[in-house]
């Protein structure tokens, strides 16, 4: 079994586990490369038909290419697509630094969306290698209904056994891509022929390595115009993946504060 096969098999197992053990679940489709891989894996896990909704909590500030992608594949892949709205910025804590505040708007939108639809669990495409705090995550990660995450007191996961029993009122984040790396995502995207938003490819010496809201996401210097070139670039880079995400860098604990409040 190749490394990608092992990752694929584990993710499929996790998706099936979530579908079997939890009540109402949905998959967060941020339209980025990771969540596209995740949707692809869900189609594999359930033999072509994703048996739960794919949800996009829309800030209204994404790139046009992202919306085009969403509209096309929601139909083409036969998804049960749900769109959530984010509240206006004026409703968000004004003490936060600007980009963090914009990201917090998305968190608030997500919270409202989950409350409205009463989900027991949501599947999110975070990866352990993205960011230090995410390295401490679990595959099945319980939150209180308020969305808070207590990463200091998590039961261990071992022997492929995930804890799937939770007290009433607790909702769960499921992370099928936790053990994937950025390179794995691209290698798999290439191998499977998964569609990619063109913003990831270099134009005029720059490309997006991570996609978020237009106003708080910046491209990085890169000549990589194809997936193989992206993979080669990543094999030698010393620049962090989220370097182009403004809110990570405003204050040392920005990301931690966002996460503690339920940011993905």
């Amino acid at each position: 079994m190749s490394h990608l096969d092992e990752l694929e098999s584990e993710s499929i197992y996790i998706l099936r586990e979530a579908f079997n053990r939890l009540g109402k679940i949905g998959l967060l489709w941020s339209l980025g490369k990771d969540s596209n891989v995740m949707l692809w894996l869900a189609r594999k896990a359930f033999f072509g038909k994703v048996p739960f909704p794919a949800m996009h909590v829309d800030t209204g500030k994404k790139f046009k290419e992202m919306y085009d992608f969403r509209d096309r594949y929601a139909t083409e892949w036969g998804l049960n697509f749900l769109r959530g709205e984010c509240p206006p910025l004026s409703e968000i804590d004004p003490d936060l630094p600007p980009a963090t505040r914009a990201a917090a708007r998305k968190t608030e939108g997500l919270k409202r969306f989950l409350a409205e639809h009463q989900f027991d669990g949501v599947i999110a495409g975070i990866r352990r290698d993205e960011e230090a705090l995410r390295a401490k995550e679990r595959v099945f990660s319980p939150r209180q209904t308020t969305g808070e995450w207590d990463f200091r007191d998590q039961p261990p996961e071992f022997w492929n056994q995930y804890n799937t029993s939770f007290p009433p009122g607790v909702h769960v984040r499921i992370h099928p891509l936790l053990h994937w790396t950025e390179i794995d995502i691209w290698k798999y995207t290439l191998r499977e022929g998964i569609p990619v938003i063109p913003l990831y490819f270099s134009r005029n010496g720059k490309r997006y390595r991570s996609l978020g809201d237009q106003d708080i996401t910046h491209p990085v210097a890169s000549e990589a115009a194809t997936i193989p070139e992206i993979i080669r670039e990543l094999e030698t880079t010393t620049v962090a993946e989220r370097a182009g995400r403004a809110m990570d860098h405003e204050a040392e604990d920005s990301f931690e504060r966002l996460r503690a409040n339920g940011y993905m």
Binding site: M1, S2, H3, L4, D5, E6, E8, S9, E10, I12, Y13, R16, E17, F19, N20, R43, K44, F46, F47, G48, K49, P51, D129, E130, E131, A132, A135, P142, P155, P156, E157, F158, W159, N160, Q161, N163, S165, F166, P167, V170, H179, T181, E182, I183, D184, K187, L190, R191, T226, P228, E229, I231, L234, E235, T237, T238, V239, A240, E241, R242
Partner: protein, 634 residues
């Protein structure tokens, strides 16, 4: 567009590196990186510059720290987990830090590793932690162990000193049942016997550390082991009925006949379903998450374990396990937990805690509770039949976690020593059987005999007084006009059960047959008195089920000490000398009845009083003059 082809498939192996805090673990890891050429460009120079700046000699341990820091910053170094590479394969190092949460780290780390490197300081020799780590690796089921005797440079590469450490540690490991695969003299600082052979130790003829690691087998995907496919879910999204699951061991082909345990239903694989593939797969092997359809429809649920007809899993509702407890609230006898065993989930009760192992001192003791971060040998009883394996045979279906209060509270590996595979006991092999109804009713027989039929099931330790009492009770009943007969262990083994030995399976079958025979006596209107140790609750419960309502469990109670004093057949002496293996009460468990119909205490009362007590009980429960609710009409 440039074509990117996936590099040739490389194997990867997870290894744990453990050792006493100052015995040079980080240096060893740094060396492994450097000497196998696994370091990213410029890293070595950066560390050297850093060391020079601080006016110190090159320190490999900084590599670990620096790479860890990079990972923390989210910079992708190659891939996050593959740490070093040899020509043969990639290695993922699982670090098990030796601090307060040591056990938890060992479990989450070392338990999932295929092999381990245990680092010992040649200068300091075997330390308490070295012993502890060796022992824990053993408990966790890690069998491929390379012991790196480090800092050989500090003892002048002295063969004599190495030999002494080797002898001491091998003796210790042997005492806990571990045979280390290799003991290798190394110097991580100088690079002796890490990737290259050392000129400083020409006397050493074994492999280098890297050679040793490369020789270990990858057991994470046991494709050649018997097939185990736990059913995770059943999908009916369209006209197909797909059983989904991940193959934990072995392989499966279209057309294979499968048996699902514990329901023991059988069917053939009609297809292996897959989405977005050029051609439907014809076979699949360990590690794959698959979906299959069957040639005919079976009602199969999550938790069933599919295998081939050859080499199926064991079926049992009771087993022993070595358990690591992680929850704040201790585990206690009588407590109930949810067990997660492959995809199955059910309630279990802690029947017994046999030993508790203190992970600090490694001493074994008795206790009725297992505290956080400790290990014990326990007996668990499930509410229903489980399909499982001994961990040493098939790891994935031989380990489980316990859930308490919505958390994973502990993990255990299964040991089936002393317990029977109950598959044959619950599986009816012949088909097309129809029961014949009797014209003579139970009531009619009762009217003629003056009593109803029944089974008095004596259970108790060897020497508790079962045989003595059964013979006396039989005689008294006969005098009182009862139709009664004693079924005694040795007598039955001369005939009906002459083809059975003393393996757990044969013992269980012995009791099963006796239950059936006693049931026949009972239905014939007679009082059958059975006199067998019958130590297992599952066996007695099965007999109760066979016999039905007229089953009376009579606990002939005497503790081991009292029985050993009596020792009428001299068996305890033999057992203590080790001449009888698995002797109940000495080297095999006795599961006392939890709610017997009658307790006869042969220590507190003399024989006559005991006989009287049993006969009174029989008169009260079986005599027609005492029972009013029978309908005597015929």
């Amino acid at each position: 567009m440039t074509e990117y082809t996936e590099p040739l498939q490389r194997e990867s192996l997870k290894i744990a590196i453990v050792g006493h805090v100052d015995h040079g673990k980080s240096t060893l890891v740094g060396r492994l990186f450097h000497d196998t050429g696994s370091l990213p460009d410029g890293k070595y120079d950066a560390i050297r510059a850093m060391c020079e700046q601080r006016g110190m000699a090159f320190e490999y341990a900084f590599l670990m720290d620096a790479m860890q820091a990079e990972r923390d910053q989210g910079i992708t170094i190659d891939t996050a987990q593959i740490w070093f590479k040899t020509k043969k394969r990639d290695y993922v190092i699982i670090d098990a830090p030796g601090h307060t949460e040591f056990l938890k780290n060992m479990i989450t780390g070392a338990a999932s590793s295929e092999a381990a490197v245990l680092v010992i300081d040649a200068h300091e020799g075997v330390q308490e932690q070295s012993r502890k780590h060796g022992y824990l690796l053993h408990l966790l089921g890690v069998q491929q162990i390379a012991v790196a005797v480090n800092k050989m440079d500090m003892i002048g590469y002295d063969q004599g000193k190495f030999d002494a450490i080797e002898a001491e540690y091998r003796a210790y490991l042997a005492s806990i049942g571990v045979t280390p695969t290799y003991l290798i003299p190394v110097s991580a600082r100088e690079g002796d016997n890490i990737a290259g052979r050392s000129d400083n130790m020409a006397w050493y003829e074994g492999p280098t550390l890297v050679e040793a690691l490369d020789s270990f087998r990858d057991t994470s995907l046991p494709v050649d082991a018997p097939l185990r496919l736990p059913i995770q879910d059943v999908y009916k999204f369209d006209e197909r009925r797909i059983l989904a699951g991940r193959i934990e061991s072995g392989r499966l082909k279209v057309g294979d006949e499968l048996i699902f345990s514990p329901s023991n239903k059988k069917a053939r694989v009609k297809s292996i379903e897959a989405w977005s593939v050029r051609q439907a797969p014809e076979e699949a092997s360990a590690g794959s998450s698959i979906g299959i359809t069957l040639d005919h429809q079976l009602f199969i649920e999550r938790g069933e374990l599919a295998s081939h007809l050859e080499n199926p899993p064991l079926e049992t509702d009771v087993f022993t396990a070595r358990l690591f407890w992680l929850a704040h609230k201790p585990l206690e006898v009588g407590n109930r937990y949810t067990i997660k065993l492959h995809t199955g989930e059910t309630q279990v009760e802690v029947q017994e805690i046999r030993t508790v192992i203190n992970t600090d001192t490694l001493s074994e003791g008795k206790s009725d509770r297992l505290e956080r971060n400790s290990i014990g040998e326990i007996v668990l009883r499930a509410k229903k039949m489980l399909a499982l394996d001994s961990h040493d045979r098939i790891a994935a279906t031989g380990r489980f976690v316990l859930i308490d209060n919505y958390h994973i509270a502990g993990g255990g590996i299964i040991n089936m020593d002393g317990y029977a595979d109950q598959r044959d006991l619950i599986t009816r092999k012949s088909e097309n059987i129809t029961r014949v109804l009797h014209d003579v009713t139970e009531e009619a027989r009762a009217v003629r005999n003056g009593h109803i039929g029944g089974v008095l099931w004596f259970t108790g330790l060897s020497g508790s007084g079962k045989s003595t009492l059964s013979v006396l009770v039989e005689k008294r009943l006969f005098q009182k006009g009862y139709q009664s007969y004693v079924l005694d262990g040795d007598n039955i083994r001369h005939g009906l059960n002459a083809n059975l030995g003393f393996s757990p399976e044969d013992r269980a079958e012995n009791i099963r047959r006796i239950g059936e025979v006693a049931g026949l006596f009972s239905r014939a209107g007679m009082v059958a008195i059975t006199s067998f140790i019958s130590p297992y609750r599952s066996d007695r419960d099965r007999a109760r089920k066979t016999v039905g309502k007229n089953f009376h469990e009579i606990y002939i109670k005497a503790d081991v000490a009292a029985c050993e004093r009596r020792d009428p057949k001299g068996l305890y002496k033999k057992a203590r000398r080790g001449e009888i293996a698995e002797f109940t009460g000495v080297s095999a468990p006795y599961e006392a009845p939890t709610s017997p119909d009658l307790v006869v205490d042969t220590v507190a009362r003399d024989i006559d009083a005991c006989v009287e007590q049993i006969v009174d009980y029989i008169e009260e429960h079986l005599s027609t003059s005492r029972i009013r609710e029978l309908d005597y009409s015929i």
